[in-house]
Symmetry: C2
Subunit: 404 residues, 2 copies
């Protein structure tokens, strides 16, 4: 009788938003970056990918991946690299313990769900590859550390390596040609500085014009300012940022975050042809954050932008009134305030009045251009879960109602 | 009997638009730049300042300046520096020829008029200071060359030094602490490459947020990418651009022009706090130029942006159909097509159809955001004129109807 057992493991993995940006690959195949980067892992209560990895000798011969109910192409080099590396680790384990079932020889069936819209430009590939790698590693019962797994996730999507840790996470660019030292590491756990919060302004924008993979390689090839960023600016800022995180020094954290976002977008603009991710709505968010800080008399809020127009605004819990309260007064009509975090924020109308006086055009721009807000904060790395997306017969559990 | 004679001299001076941008001063008082720059002088038929300089022992004791019918403050250090340096040269002349009238001791009365709106962000200070310096130099009958006068105009407004020449003009940053070698020079006269044209899209924008003087010094002080631009990128591009102009190589001219505009705005974005001059309308202009070049299969148009959202788009006369014709089809309803240049341009509807298919959002953005167009081309340096703005009694001639 054939072995029909379905082996399963489930995990959730977080989104991370960099405060020192990854932009530029020195090896596109291995996703080896031209500079180190540093991110904050965001809470999985607000943004996460939930993934069940399974394998069985009874499965159809080819590996498969279902994301939010839609079958995905797994033949791409990135997904294949992750499958291959994880299988290799499992094979080694099986070779050392011959009693183990030969999971490495069985087809994989993966089911994933995001609790946020995939196309909103919210680093979904980072959470997605982190969850995929973590879930398969658990399925295979690999003894690998998060840092070892980060090398594999990196090959799926560069920034995914940082989503294998919670809290404040660095990604060392490394120097080895094989990528063996280009790994993620914990700068500080979430519990070290749990007061970090973020409000994300999701801009109602057209689709990304330039994919980040193409974009960053064009920047490396054509921007005359890029080498100064990669070789001088970022190494200096990595140190400043690690020190700021360890010291819980928000003002430095914030200043470096904003400067680094602007530096990254500056090298995009210096690309031939120029790449624009910031639009007039993004500029309005920058202006409003500047006014919030001016009004507070110190830096209580920091904007950062990935390869898209959405603003991620970091602040500390103690500044909720000045930051989240202002945005609730301004954008309270938008989607996103209904959750546990949002509903407890009190709309700060007097702050809005002040900011409107100084930056009325920017406030109007945000009211018009922001589609929804997401309230979140620093959070944990991947978590094992008993909630499975694949039943014991190997069939997807139907939990998704919208296929977005 | 007192000498009541009114001495007068009149000149017109052009606007120039840089293709290698001036941004950053190594000496703010003397307007000494951190990098060299290069510009195209635009035709005075389209954009010019007309200035009459006069002096008389009969004038009230203080110097005065009337611009477009409005009295201007001449007590600022910049205007004072120009007056002082020109008087010093006149004094030397008077000392060498005692028969000359002592014009250097008489109060100056200057009357200026622009044939374009001052506040449109069209480098009016460059034309203004060039005309002021040239007119006073003529009034004083100074034997100074344009290069010598450029040192004086530079102290009024940096880029004004380039408006003392026609055609293609360099401004050497120089190295001397006193600015004696920071001068403008002719790269090629207009007659060398007379086919250069420009269409300017004047964006209906709010006022400049950050003055260029403040902005450039903040960039020098805070941008980590700026040194690479000033020390490496611009010196290389100056050579490429001079070679391109001399060889009448439009494709190189255009490519370097676009890259340098983007590099300049990139360092603005990398400033703390960031400076934004480009807005969504500017980005739309960039997109449309990219489509025009794609459609043409070669680079026939080049955008460049000064410290504001207006697009200046250079092209050659032979590409009028592809460039100006497209914009006439797109923006024919706007002001600016009624003059001799504009009325002869034929609206190129089929080009517009193609661009609308590829970049419909950008075309809509320009239709909505452009207030007027200006058609112009390469032109001559300052020209003496008999048309005076001050009558023989020293009274302003009333030619201005609007005081804009």
């Amino acid at each position: 009788m054939a072995d029909n057992k379905v082996y399963r493991a489930s995990t959730t993995a977080p989104v991370n938003i960099a405060v020192i940006k990854y932009w530029g690959k020195r090896d596109p195949k291995l996703n080896l970056p031209t500079n180190s980067s540093l991110s904050v892992t965001l809470s999985q209560s607000d943004l996460r990918t939930h993934t069940t990895a399974s394998c069985s000798p009874s499965y159809p011969t080819s590996d498969s991946l279902l994301l939010n109910g839609s079958p995905q192409d797994v033949s791409g080099a990135r997904t294949q690299a992750c499958f291959r590396e994880l299988r290799t680790l499992r094979q080694a384990l099986e070779a050392s313990k011959p009693s183990l079932p030969k999971l490495s020889t069985y087809p994989l069936k993966i089911v994933s769900e995001n609790n946020f819209p995939t196309a909103a430009g919210l680093a979904s590939s980072a959470a997605g590859f982190a969850a995929l790698v973590r879930a398969i590693a658990d399925l295979y019962e690999l003894p690998a550390t998060p840092t070892e797994l980060s090398k594999i996730a990196r090959q799926g999507s560069g920034s995914a390596c940082r989503s294998l840790f919670g809290g404040y996470v660095g990604w060392d660019k490394g120097t080895a040609a094989d990528g063996s030292d280009s790994v993620a590491y914990e700068v500080a756990p979430a519990a070290h500085w749990p007061a970090m919060r973020a409000v994300i302004l999701v801009v109602s924008a057209a689709k990304k014009g330039v994919s980040s993979t193409t974009g960053m390689q064009t920047t490396v090839a054509t921007s005359s300012l890029f080498p100064a960023r990669a070789n001088e600016t970022v190494p200096r800022r990595m140190k400043e940022m690690e020190t700021a995180v360890k010291a819980k020094d928000f003002e430095t954290f914030a200043r470096v975050t904003m400067k680094d976002s602007n530096s990254f977008h500056a090298t995009c603009l210096d690309t031939e042809p120029p790449i624009f991710y910031l639009n007039d709505v993004s500029r309005a968010a920058i202006k409003v954050v500047e006014e919030v800080n001016k009004e507070a008399g110190k830096t209580v809020a920091a904007y950062t932008f990935d390869a898209g127009p959405n603003a991620v605004i970091y602040y500390l819990e103690e500044s909720e009134k000045e930051v989240a309260g202002l945005f609730k007064a301004m954008l309270g009509e938008k989607e996103g305030w209904e959750g546990a975090r949002g509903s407890k924020v009190e709309a700060n109308k007097s702050a809005l009045e002040v900011v409107e006086k100084e930056a009325g055009v920017a406030v109007a721009g945000l009211k018009e251009g922001v589609a929804r807000v997401i309230l979140t904060g620093v959070g944990e790395g991947p978590l094992k879960t008993e909630e499975t997306l694949i039943d014991e017969k190997g069939e997807p559990v139907n939990t998704v109602t919208n296929g977005s």
